[in-house]
Subunit: 408 residues, 2 copies
């Protein structure tokens, strides 16, 4: 396990003040799953009637806890619910033993907290292919249950970190039917980040009520525009999980409320951006805006092709306005493009148009722009009205350092 | 332009002795297109009746010379033919001006050599988006034509290099109808290497005769199994071009001859491997053999997903037998996989089987194996009879050094 000592230069100054929400309590423990001297297990317990929606990795080699959560999602939500997460070991590619670990942890949580087993959701994140020492987690459940508290969400965000260099949280408050409801979420993720559920682990809570089936539909659509639009390294985790829990403790039903939905999507987008800002080795945060594509889906294909191109990402690391590599990445994406209708801007600087460099382009302007920490690359294909925005970071020596040495 | 001083540790000891072939002559010149103090233009002139087949990048932003070659391919082959290549500037994304450059160079070659314009094939490789200073090339054509020689193929291989750290050549000799015919090829390529014609520039010559239409069919199929099975960085060039020229000077028709076809494919595979061995920053050559897939196409999808995974490639750079990342890359590929039927070997070491680590696996064996320069990762999906082999290199600090600083 690499020792990550430096905090990402793109990290926010501090963890945000998150609102305390009715209906959810947290606790953390140091179970020694893999790491020493830090917390590595978090438990969240949710009041009876909480709606739970989820989105998971589409990997065909997904981890045992993911398969278990997918089976449980959408069931009866009259009882309470619980979320148990460990870091340090992904319980992925661990065969039949992996299922036993999930069952043992789930059973212990259910017996101790009184939550039905069918509403205990687990997740594991860390190394792949090693047996999860689930006894160490089980032995902490009684203490975790005794320590549950409504104001421990920051501790929860810390306990789920692996190669993350900072804990990630975001929140929103919004009026629904004249009452203020709150949304608070935490996330972990730094490498092995790419769409098809690029979240790593994300838990979002609200004290609003929300019909469970409707919540699932809304969250799936929002995930496609937020977590599924980020990429650090094009690699998709076996463990990615997002759960959104609506406790209803505020006494307001937000089902289908446009203002609430917008606030929830804002929180999801902010957490997705924080994952990119903690991208392994990242020194630049890059927004890629694609317009004029044949369809939204083709716009996203182009955007991700640029965002995943090692040559684009290394050029940005070198603060090089190498727009030729952007052209290359559009050309290879497989989505429709006409070289002679393409225009590319870096920030407000029009770099290329109609198949060649813009007549007003001055390389020194672009070179100055590339020194910024947050960059926007805008691509207009000039073909239709399809649009998408994706986010990524640069590819640096830091990524190689972290990943050429992670496991040994 | 980065100064590349070190030769790849995976380079062969020296350029091979290539057989001299009847019907083709070469010349090189230092035109100063971009580089100083080295050759950067090569001319090859082929005798009347030479069959020419080609495969090109599928990029939608492909360069002007590629579009020109694609138009010319398959035409009447009774007259002589010529190939003119420059390094240092790709003449890609240069709008209408790019076509003018191709026309000017083509016209000059045709007028000086007597080759019909419809049989003058050009290629340009280097930086994207800058106008090609074609006058510098045109001014060299007379000298190039005067200097044509049958034994200058190594000089030709040197003149087409960009970030390559060594010149690449391969050959074969084979009996057809009791006569020995020869095949000799050269290639350049080091970065921006990924399938959909991952060749960069490759020129292969034979003194056998071969029906032009049949040659095109054979070469396209062979490219899918050789050049389209290599990847350095998943980025696809705007300029990739492969031409195979059969002069017929040996007085033998090899059309459809199985022995000849096998020899030609061997030369193509060897040149493809040399491109990977010169992959930017490469320290390991990796063969990924996929079997048991639902189809050959799905096997290739899995193989390329592993070969393009930054996490797999950095683990190999760190000599870390991190097979969990191989599992991850199979899981994300989108092709069919069943976690519990999957087996993975590193060399002869069975690492994982039936969804978990193999009971006989000892990490110290795999760690010792990973220190080798040439590695084989074998993946059996246990689903069907689809198979494919792809080749790649590791991802190191060297790649970041070369590419974070290439253009500025």
């Amino acid at each position: 396990m690499a020792t990550i000592t430096k905090v990402s230069p793109l990290a926010p100054a501090r963890f945000p003040d998150l609102p305390q929400l009715g209906g959810v309590r947290f606790a953390t423990a140091a179970a020694g799953v893999k790491y020493a001297g830090r917390t590595d297990v978090m438990l969240a317990v949710l009041d009876a009637g909480t709606s739970v929606a989820g989105v998971f990795t589409r990997s065909s080699t997904r981890a045992a806890p993911v398969l278990d959560c997918q089976q449980k999602l959408g069931g009866d939500n009259t009882g309470p619910a619980a979320i148990l997460v460990n870091s340090g070991n992904a319980n992925a590619f661990t065969g039949h033993y992996g299922q036993i670990s999930v069952a043992e942890v789930t059973k212990a949580v259910a017996e101790t907290t009184g939550v039905p087993e069918a509403r205990v959701f687990t997740a594991s994140t860390g190394v792949i292919g090693e047996p999860l020492p689930h006894d160490r987690i089980v032995s902490q459940i009684t203490d975790l249950n005794a320590g549950l508290s409504g104001d421990a969400i920051e501790a929860a965000a810390q306990a789920i970190m692996t190669t993350d260099t900072f804990a990630k949280g975001a929140s929103a408050q919004v009026e629904v039917d004249g009452k203020t409801v709150s949304i608070a979420g935490i996330a972990k993720g730094s490498g092995m980040i790419a769409p098809d559920m690029a979240t790593m682990l994300v838990y979002i809570f609200t004290d609003a009520g929300y019909d469970q089936a409707a919540l699932q539909g809304a969250v799936s659509a929002m995930a496609d525009r937020t977590f599924n639009c980020i990429t650090v390294d094009s690699d998709t985790s076996t463990s990615d999980s997002l759960l959104v829990c609506a406790t209803g403790a505020a006494g307001v039903d937000a089902t289908g409320n446009a203002g609430f939905d917008a606030a929830l999507e804002r929180v999801m987008r902010e957490l997705a951006h924080l994952v990119v800002r903690d991208g392994e080795g990242a020194t630049k945060f890059i927004e890629i805006r694609v317009t004029g594509a044949v369809s939204d889906a083709e716009a996203k294909t182009h955007g991700l092709s640029v965002a995943n191109s090692p040559l684009v990402k290394t050029a940005i690391a070198g603060e090089d306005a190498n727009w030729g590599r952007v052209v290359m990445a559009i050309g290879k994406s497989g989505a429709a493009a006409d070289r002679d209708r393409l225009s590319i801007s870096f920030g407000d600087i029009l770099v290329a148009e109609k198949g060649w460099v813009s007549p007003n382009y001055r390389e020194e302007d672009a070179a100055a722009y590339m020194k910024a920490q947050d960059l926007v690359i805008a691509i207009d294909l000039g073909l239709g009205s399809g649009a998408a925005t994706v986010w990524t970071c640069d590819l640096t020596h830091g990524y190689i350092e972290i990943n050429a040495d992670y496991r040994s």
